[in-house]
Symmetry: C2
Subunit: 205 residues, 2 copies
């Protein structure tokens, strides 16, 4: 779901790995006309969600709830990989978070889709590194309420090439994952690149 940098990166990488991919977008015709999605199979959001094994939410933060709430029934029983960030660019750069404190966009999405299993992951790094971790291998995180769904996502992350995946527990950990973004933006500014990663260094024993 979504045809921004994250959605396009995932569609290309999953296809490369041999998966059948449908990209969900609001208006497939106008998306196709922009020429950014190559030969990927574009569908409206509802069609894209039909009979799939797994949904990747790569929508702009502000579109997540408006779009996916309407698909609550269609997404019932599915795993939703939530890569989104609650970024509000209305005040310019840097963006602010429009969900903070004792909540997260990931949890709001889970409440809006009670019959799905939302797993928050990969919102902490740039789209290229999400799907090509070999370019700068670091630590990625998963958080979600359903252990089976998390295992499915860990399998997908491993298939893509991630080899340091830290399970932060239930979906309340999405708060920390989303509130990391301001520091991510600060580091990006200091380094002049988005293709940095972080590695969690465990204590020496």
């Amino acid at each position: 779901m979504g045809t921004g940098m994250v959605g396009r990166a995932w569609a290309a990488r999953l296809a490369e790995l041999g998966h059948e991919v449908r990209i969900g977008t609001r208006d497939p015709e106008s998306t196709r006309a922009r020429g950014e999605t190559g030969e990927a199979a574009l569908f409206g959001f509802a069609e894209a969600a039909e009979d799939v094994d797994l949904v990747v939410n790569a929508l702009d933060g502000e579109a997540v709830l408006p779009v996916l709430r309407g698909l609550a029934t269609a997404l019932g029983g599915m795993v939703v990989v939530d890569i989104s960030n609650p970024l509000d660019f209305s005040g310019g750069f840097p963006p602010r978070l429009f969900v903070q404190g004792g909540d997260s966009l990931g949890e709001q999405l889970q409440r809006a889709l009670p019959e799905t299993s939302v797993v928050k992951t990969l919102n902490t790094l740039n789209a290229t590194l999400q799907v090509h971790p070999e370019r700068n291998p670091g630590t990625v995180f998963v958080a979600g309420n359903d252990p089976e769904a998390k295992a499915t996502v860990v399998e997908l992350l491993t298939e893509v090439g991630h080899d340091d995946i830290l399970d932060l527990g239930d979906l309340t950990a999405a708060r920390g994952l989303e509130q990391w973004l301001p520091l991510w933006l600060g580091i990006m500014g200091a380094l002049g690149t988005a293709e940095f990663q972080i590695r969690v260094l465990r204590p020496r024993t």
Copy 2:
């Protein structure tokens, strides 16, 4: 300033490195009676701030402004190393941040002490690793509006043993540094230890 884990760790380490150290606390007698500060020189906040080269703010987040605002004149012209985090434990664990969005406790402190140079640093890692980075070497950050003050702090960090110090620019970067705390708490919970660090991995060229 402060006799919690961070203040005690810094007092001990700076003394070990040959610096003369005064610990500022609300009530030196009762602090001494608790027996946690060893043989360190305990002073009231105002006395501790007299004629020093540098002030380390290791107060509990909620005490920072009430205590330091009263020392605005005494601290004029000084560098204040701000290690504090705006943690609110009133709702239990995990704590929430009592400053968020387009502000930070570091910036609030700078506004309260307009004649000092506040440098935010080291709030992103555990007290032991702040002063003994060789136990788990990673990346630390500095942010502040005064380049000279930042250079002074970088010198201090280097003396303590930090060798990967990333300058995030002006004090607005304190927002990201403070909002990192929820993820830090999540990682601590997942690993079962506070003695982890992170390293920022620059892109391979």
